[in-house]
């Protein structure tokens, strides 16, 4: 593994975390903010699972399982939010 690539992934994860924090610190509320932070969580989860955990070298079913977990859990969180 090229040492530069995981470092770039780490920098992207830091930037995405700071974006989520900035949304939390601002007065941004509502569905747009909620969907944005959930989407950021999905992207971060995929980066960690595929590049740090190394699932991109594994049978696709395992990657789909992690992606599915984020989609289902995130989707249900969004659904519950919309019920309010």
């Amino acid at each position: 593994m090229n040492a530069n690539f995981p470092t770039l992934i780490w920098l992207a994860l830091v930037a995405l975390t700071l974006t989520t924090y900035a949304i939390g610190a601002s007065d941004m509320t509502g569905s747009g903010a909620m969907l944005t932070v959930l989407f950021i969580a999905l992207v971060k989860g995929q980066m960690v699972a595929n590049y740090f955990m190394g699932l991109r070298h594994v049978a696709p079913g395992w990657r789909l399982l992690i992606l599915g977990w984020f989609l289902i859990v995130g989707g249900l969180i969004a659904l519950a939010y919309k019920l309010t």
């Binding site: 610190a25 959930l38 969580a41 960690v48 955990m53 594994v58 049978a59 079913g61 309010t84």
Partner: protein, 192 residues
């Protein structure tokens, strides 16, 4: 793990058993995350007011700590694949230290809430907040115990490019702890 055994498990890093454990833990946390979201839907005002009392900055710093620790542990796995035992032990040691930083920050948050007289029975927000984050906290501690065992063995040269399933098993567990926090932080500290 031999190449043959790896093929049997579709190339999953580490011991196959840890993957069953990871899936079971993610399922349990997933149910609790969704339960939190639906409980919130019943009393949005209470959840939003209680969330305001959390230290969002501590939560964000702990997110950065865990993400960085995940990066470090991945570097540790990469090092052992190249037979660099000492580098591997160094990266895993740095991961362990970040785990300790996470524990320290989270303990300070717990202390602040307990000092204010907040308990599991204060209201449903705090019940979820304390239960979920404490449950996760225990997983960080467990990950640190696993890492400590692997670090000791790595320092003694117990792993190498052909035999590093132990390092990958510890790393996979650690990444799971990070994955859970990636949802926990926005869900409990940010979304309102």
């Amino acid at each position: 793990m031999t190449a043959e055994a790896k093929n049997q498990h579709e190339g999953l890093p580490g011991d196959f058993a840890i993957w069953i454990f990871i899936l079971a833990e993610m399922l349990a946390f997933g149910v609790l995350f969704v339960a939190y979201a639906f409980a919130r839907a019943h009393d949005v005002a209470l959840f939003n007011a209680s969330q305001e009392t959390l230290n969002r900055t501590s939560g964000a710093i702990n997110t950065l700590v865990l993400i960085t620790s995940s990066y470090f542990v991945a570097r540790g796995v990469d090092a052992i694949k190249r037979d660099l035992s000492r580098d591997c032990a160094w990266w895993l040691g740095a991961t362990w230290l970040l785990g300790a930083v996470f524990i320290a920050i989270k303990s300070a948050e717990f202390h602040e809430k307990f000092s204010a007289g907040i308990t599991l029975s204060t209201n449903s927000f705090y019940m979820f907040y304390l239960a979920l984050t404490f449950f996760h906290f225990m997983h960080v501690l467990m990950g640190m115990i696993i890492l400590a065992v692997v670090i000791v063995k790595a320092r003694r040269g117990g792993y190498g490019s052909r035999d590093h399933a132990g390092v990958e098993t510890a790393a996979s567990f650690w990444h799971m702890v990070d994955l859970l926090w990636i949802i926990l932080f926005p869900l409990i500290y940010v979304i309102r």
